[in-house]
Amino acid sequence: MAEPAGGGALRNAFGGVLSIFILILIGVLAFSIRLFSVIKYESVIHEFDPYFNYRVTQFLTKNGIYDFWNWFDDRTWYPLGRVIGGTVYPGLTLTAGTMWILNSLNIPLSVETVCVFTAPIFSANASWATYLLTKEVKGAGAGLTAAALLAMVPSYISRSVAGSYDNEAVAIFALIFTFYLYIKTLNTGSLFYATLNAIAYFYMVCSWGGYTFIINLIPMHVLLCIVTGRYSSRLYIAYAPLVVLGTLLAALVPVVGFNAVVTSEHFASFLVFIILHVVALVYYIKRILSPAMFKVAVTLVVTIGMAVCCAVIAILIALVASSPTKGWSGRSLSLLDPTYASKYIPIIASVSEHQPPTWPSYFMDINVLAFLVPAGIIACFLPLSDASSFVVLYLVTSVYFSGVMVRLMLVLAPAACITSGIALSEAFDVFTRSIKFQLPNLFSNSPSAGDNSSESSVSQDVVKNDNHRQVEKSETVPKVKGDNSRPTEKSEAVMKGKQSKKNRKKEKDLEEEDILKPKKERRLLVLPLEASAVAILLLIVLGGFYVVHCVWAAAEAYSAPSIVLTSHSHDGLHVFDDFREAYAWLRHNTDEDDKVASWWDYGYQTSAMANRTVIVDNNTWNNTHIATVGTAMSSPEKAAWEIFNSLDVKYVLVVFGGLVGYPSDDINKFLWMVRIGGGVFPHIKEPDYLRDGQYRIDAQATPTMLNCLMYKLSYYRFIEADGSGFDKVRRTEIGKKHFKLTHFEEAFTTHHWMVRIYKLKPPKNRIKGKWKKSKSSSKSSSKRNGATRKNPWQ
């Protein structure tokens, strides 16, 4: 507080306005970087699950919230049906439904438009929430950096491009915002924020099944605080209302219901709730008793407590052990034991987003953040506060989860952005301060060259800089505190310089302003001028790489809607719009009540785009039903026909990429059908489809493989298409080229053969006898018959 009060106020006001301006720009950035899919393709819903959400939203806007809540959908999972209202996380749908209310303000929007742009809008919200969270942890500068990083982190873009209308789109915002409110409560001890926190948690529960991450992470953090002796009344206020109110609110969501109190996922929160109260009681008793009395009390309580604890734990273990999955849901179990799903639940293991990620996907999805994160962790320890320990804990757990399931990379992304934001901001803080204090020396030709050289032994590595600072920060804490607003502005300015050049000038103005205030006492903190300048440059280059990578990822890697495919070849751009062609055919050429069977991946799209009843869909709630379809696909034609007929199926849809080389087709997914089918119906055995453990469809393939329905439906008439029967995906000639279908007939094949629709033939009008027409064969068979028949006269 060395400067005059008036100047400080002005500076704060200026910084505040600038922060708001930057935040708006970050929001615009977050929104607009996600529009590549709309610009390059069209305003269309992407992939699989979004189509279901879109259909649900349509229903909501048409029928209102009560009908949505009670919606029994008889057009999926035929004939079981699905209670949509009770099995869907309604957050996303309700959010979009609320936005659609704009229509009543005479802003005409179609439901589809709202759905397409929900994800980009909530990405902007998420980056603002990141700003708030990081600001609570490490100040506004770190907050702005983290927000900018999050606005364009590829991992999050992959799930929230325009059209990717999925739960994660709003859930990540809800996740970050809940964490922010928790930290805010922890920092302020305000019951107001604690209540808001419970409400934010409720929104998260509404939005995504990932809410269990929150309800496990926060208790872990509370436990950490208790163990490290950081218990305070603020901690109590941050946690206790969240558990009580949050659990009550969570139980209101139909899909969660009593799960909020009975499943093991929520167990940790209650356990920590109890521990927290015990600890609070102990602190209270400690305060009112004398130390000697307290010791007596402790021994007394510990002995009794141990006995009670043992009894309770024994009962709990017995209860938990009595349930087959130990009270955990399959997905959660596969998180704790990554091999669980592949061992027991092929249906979870079969989903590609449930596979563990490969190393390159880390670089693809969080890019340079992967290198900044360790620096950020160290920065969080300087000094360690409740809030920064939470960030570290969040990061560590999410790194683990992202290693189990590639889909949870999405949870890691905000953590990585926050820690990287902290790291970058701290680094800029150090470097700009070094420059600032040495620039006057440079001009006055000061004798402090020796000082500089002694300090230049410290390398420019960000991590080491922070290490270095760790030593000295403790000495200078009060001064840094008095000067809070300035580093913020500096890092802001630098960061903004990366994005837009137009603020460069402002930055220079600020620098010059700062130079005028020499501060001799800061000398100890500084790094050599040249090193700082180079380091800043390098950091800006690093940031530049990040921006370039993110824009590339947004534009090229993650913008494809996956229902429309494109390919570049020597003769230009090819567009494969086969999926919509097929669904449109179904919509216009089949009866409204016809049932369409396909592998579950295409269930949501069929019901949303073709408006036909499907047997199974992407909500894989009934393993047996999926196994039935899998069995039918892996059975010979006649058995398959019987299975499908018993389910009243009229049409069978298969996706086939062999002609154009579309790799994620049904033949490539076929082994999962066999596995899932075989898991329920043991007569389907995986080895029957493998030749020496190899999955192949060429002439070496097993007869079971060549005669199964999936093979036949995929390759029927394939030889007529290209003449040689060469499958471009498997890169081999198919094993059986000429065959006829007896129980199915081809109804429709799309332009590039990517979707093929078959109709079940009706049962034969007549049943044939045994007599063969050919005379020669009849003669020979009569001879044979005569020879083998038992002679009645003997």
Binding site: F72, D74, P79, G81, L647, G769, K773, G786, R789
Partner: protein
Amino acid sequence: MYIYIFWELFVGLGGSLDQNAVLEFVDSGRDLILAADSSASDVIRGIATECGVDFDEDLEALVIDHTSYAVSETEGDHTLIASDALIHSDVILGDKKIEAPILFRGTGHSVNPANSLVLKVLSASPSAYLANPKTKLSSPPSLTGSAISLVSIMQARNNARVLISGSLDLFSNRFSKSVVQKAGSKIKYEKSGNEQFVTEISKWVFHERGHLKAVNVSHRKVGEMTEPAMYRINDDLEYSVEIYEWSGTSWEPYVADDVQVQFYMMSPYVLKTLSNNQKGLYSTSFKVPDVYGVFQFKVEYQKLGYTSLRLAKQIPVRPFRHNEYERFITAAYPYYGASFSTMAAFFIFSIVYLYHK
């Protein structure tokens, strides 16, 4: 609407016959009487096979029966058979019992017992066998005993009816007017049963008997008139259907006590016999099971000699709406009491804590 193919006549008329054309004729729902003789051609055999009837491979083979042949002055090779092994069905053969044996001379055929569409109307006696009377029997005959069918009928899935006979003479005036006496039997009938048999069975073939139709399938909640688009679990519903039989001139009410309806979702959850009011109206009422899903009202009525009735009507059954559960449960009163008393206690505690220091 129907064709007769009497093979020899046909050949005599110089016609040509296309197997596929005949089968398409059947598949389009029309009826066929097929009488082949021992000289039946491949086309006839082909048609018969397609209908599930296998003629013997030996073209010259006749049904020979040394015990139940018809006594006759002219023939001694026992190929003229007097059979009375008729199917017991009033629908197919009329109410009046055919007393006299039926004269038959021709080739026999076999039907696959697993084939549910084909019925043997007239079978050979256990002592019959199929062989060529002109040659010596070198190997055991391919078809023997009552496995030999003399006259069979086939009702296709589209209810087209086909009669297949191995004898053309069966239909002839000579046979129907001749005196018949079964070997070993004292009774001598003035007239064979052929005429009555042929008349009755052709009535059946041409749908003048045994043809059912179901109309006005409807279902509703008990006490309501309109048909809902969806039921709720545990609803009480009524189901009704009217079934009529074609008498040759008009639709008459069909009366039976074995028509059943299924409430079906992958397997029948409810199976109820419909009661009728003697005027063709069948109805029943039942409670929707406590299972939601897409159900079907299924009537699958397949009775010997009648056209099959297959009715399926899809109807979804939904669970309770959120406001259809009981609002207050008696068993939960302790919990209501607990929560309200806790609230009151907390309120009092707060007042005491805050204002009584």
